[in-house]
């Protein structure tokens, strides 16, 4: 049974060494930042409703989804 040694899990490198979610999340954050620079963001203020308007802009939403995805990827 000489093959048994080769079947030790430690002898194998993981098939995937990076979390795809982290990679895609970082790409989304980058895309959101580029989009924000190209499109520009509108500031509505810092009140509760205004803050909602501040965040509900396409580039910001993209960054938020990306950040959430990175957190989901790293949190495991």
């Amino acid at each position: 049974m000489e093959d048994e040694g080769r079947l030790e899990p430690a002898a194998y490198r993981p098939a995937i060494s990076v979390q795809p979610r982290v990679v895609v999340g970082l790409l989304l954050i980058l895309a959101g930042l580029v989009w924000a620079v190209a499109r520009g963001l509108i500031s509505y203020g810092i009140g509760p409703v205004d803050l909602g308007y501040d965040l509900d802009q396409p580039p910001v939403l993209l960054v938020l989804v990306g950040a959430w995805l990175v957190w989901r990827g790293l949190g495991r």
Binding site: P14, A15, I16, P58, L62, V65
Partner: protein, 179 residues
């Protein structure tokens, strides 16, 4: 009640972000300690689908165009039913083989409703966006059904591409095209 166009657009952007998060959570695998890609089957997905359904149903209250009311109502129904079935399945209280088809069927039917939306009102400013989003959802549903039929499915579902395309189109929809 008639809402300002910017408010309607904000609703679309928010739902687009929600759906993008749902698609990525569901179809982008996480890597376990052995380096294998596994689907998360998270409870976030069904809850998000039902939250999305409520968001879509809001249109029924605030819209002033009959076909918008009807189509959004049906979208909400489909999303809520899908969320409820997936929630029951992931909690382990209801498990049937046909439940594999719930999400693809949801994408297909929501895509078909986009086409209905465009067919009823082909001259609207958002017709091209709605058509593109509908086709993305239909493509995503079909690709998922094909993947389910394969003996050895790819690690990352090909449906992720059109489904993310749909969500990104919803996030990026111009103010004038949102309806």
């Amino acid at each position: 009640m008639i809402l300002p166009q910017i408010t309607i657009a904000r609703g679309h952007w928010l739902l687009g972000a929600l759906f993008l998060a749902v698609m990525l959570e569901e179809y982008l695998p996480r890597v376990d300690k052995e380096g294998r890609a596994v689907r998360s089957r998270s409870l976030i997905v069904p809850w998000a689908l039902m939250a999305g359904a409520v968001g879509v149903w809001v249109t029924v209250v605030v819209a002033d165009i009959v076909h918008d009311i009807l189509v959004h109502f049906l979208w909400g129904d489909v999303l809520f039913a899908a969320g409820a079935l997936e929630l029951a399945r992931r909690r382990g209280v209801y498990e049937r083989p046909w439940l594999d088809g719930v999400l693809p069927a949801t994408f297909l039917s929501c895509g078909a409703l986009f086409i209905v939306h465009v067919t009823i009102d082909p001259s609207s400013q958002g017709a091209h966006w709605h058509l593109a989003m509908g086709l993305c959802l239909i493509a995503g549903g079909l690709l998922e059904f094909v993947r389910l039929g394969l003996r050895r499915a790819p690690t990352i579902s090909p449906a992720l591409v059109p489904l993310c395309g749909f969500a990104l189109a919803l996030i990026a929809i111009p103010v004038a095209a949102a309806s």
